[in-house]
Amino acid sequence: MVSKLDEQAVRHVAHLARLSVTDDEVARYAQQLSRVLTYVEQLNELDTEGVPPTAHALPVSNVLRADELGHPIQQEQALHNAPRQQDGFFRVPKVLDQETA
């Protein structure tokens, strides 16, 4: 397990998370997150061979409901908090013609 998160790795993770970070933040997060990751590595002391993972604490799964007409949110309600909107749509900057990595 790699314990140290260097500044390059912080920038990569920030990009994956779509978070803009300043140079100051990168330096600070590299140090703080490395400390947390080092702490977290104590989990490796435990043998978990054959132990099933717990995603939810209680055995509730595949909860279904009838596919009935409900009262969906109205368009103007859905758009109420939109930072920008136009003609009943959410408006965003142009998506095509750019790198999307």
């Binding site: 998160l5 779509r18 939810h56 604490a57 908090n81 939109a82 959410f90």
Partner: protein, 487 residues
Amino acid sequence: MIASATDIAKAVRTKECSAKEVAAQCLARIESTDGNTHAFLRISGEKAIERARQVDEAIARGEDPGPLAGVPIAVKDNICTVGGTTTCGSKILEKFESRYDAHVAQRLQAAGAVIVGKTNLDEFGMGSSTENTATATTCNPWNASRVAGGSSGGSAAAVAARMVPAAIGSDTGGSIRQPASFCSVVGLKGTYGRVSRYGLVAYGSSLDQIGPLAVEARDVALLMGVIAGHDRRDSTSVDAEVPDYVAGLDDPLDGLRIGISEEYLGEGLDEEVRGCVMAAIENLKTRGASVVPIHLPHMNYAIACYYVIVTAEASSNLARFDGVHYGHRTPEPKDMIDMYASSRGEGFGAEVKRRIMLGTYALSSGYYDAYYLKALKVRTLIRRDFEEAFQSVDAIASPVAPTPAFTIGEKTEDPLAMYLSDIYTISANLAGICAISVPCGFSGAGLPIGLQLMGPAFGEGKLLSVAHQYQQATDHHEQVPPASSTD
């Protein structure tokens, strides 16, 4: 001095006083008290008075408005309510207006309660001190230089300072219990699935639970009975009968087996906290309880396990804040990617960014198995420890936090130190079990100390009756903080 929720509901239902009078008194009390405490982010005075008037009208028509008739309640600001903002203490949701009420808000109002305002929190619930907030830090009503705890610090402080008889918080790793302990009030985190999360802004979805805070366990029982129960809008809500928690409060404790675990009383525990917790356990023994030593071998791995899982879930949940559908959008984005990254970079605070990055890292290609999957497996071991323990005991007693409330600013530059303060509370969330925090004394410096009682899944009734009977025999909860004795 504001009365208990139980007494207010009784007085309003019997027309001894009107809901409107109660609401007006409560709002005046908040106005005069909250200036130094900063428990509230928003007070909805007009709406509260209007709502109280409706309760009074129902009573005048001969209807029963419900078990919380006219009871003023404060709600943590990560729980959606219609009318005004729901900000989660975040700049990114500074102007967000929910178009629907959370399940708990609907239940409370259907029971006659009057929501008077929204309380401060660590941004999105991420923190243990209510310092990670876009607005002012909530101060501890017992000592303004100390934190109120977190993340439901505003709810705990509002109750402790007698601004409201009861409040609603949320608990992902101790966020109801730890501030309850720091502020000397009772706080209950129910079993995972006991209270619907519909309308709770998601943080760690497999851990989050909504629960009540009040001065007395009786009021907590009253509120829990109202908010618990199945809701089809939350697929993790459990369809199990809700017992009458209030009716069970005086069930005899004879034969009650209380487990104590060395893992919860070892290194790092403040001596004064240990003293108060042990004295509380002795008190319960005089009430017919017996003490059984238990062992929870994986307890020491809980923090590491928790911070991998909760940050992974947070990074996924908070992906929804993208500057498109709601929330802050950067004014001049270069392109689509920049719009996402800059909106999020400008809108989230430091701790939220840290947790998103930690979680993104733990879920990223090449690290998923080593961190996230490993933590899920350790979670199984922790859950099994509790299952085994509850074969031989009815409840487990422990401290809520290793120390009384720490000083404001003390841990803000050291995230790991802040995480370690959650050591005694997070296991209950990982295991999905219920747990309650009850005032059990004060340090020499006059800071509150809390006793935690953990119970098996759906064991809330037992925890409430133990807490209630302990409070009947003690007066810690009757002490009133200096910040609230000014009028």
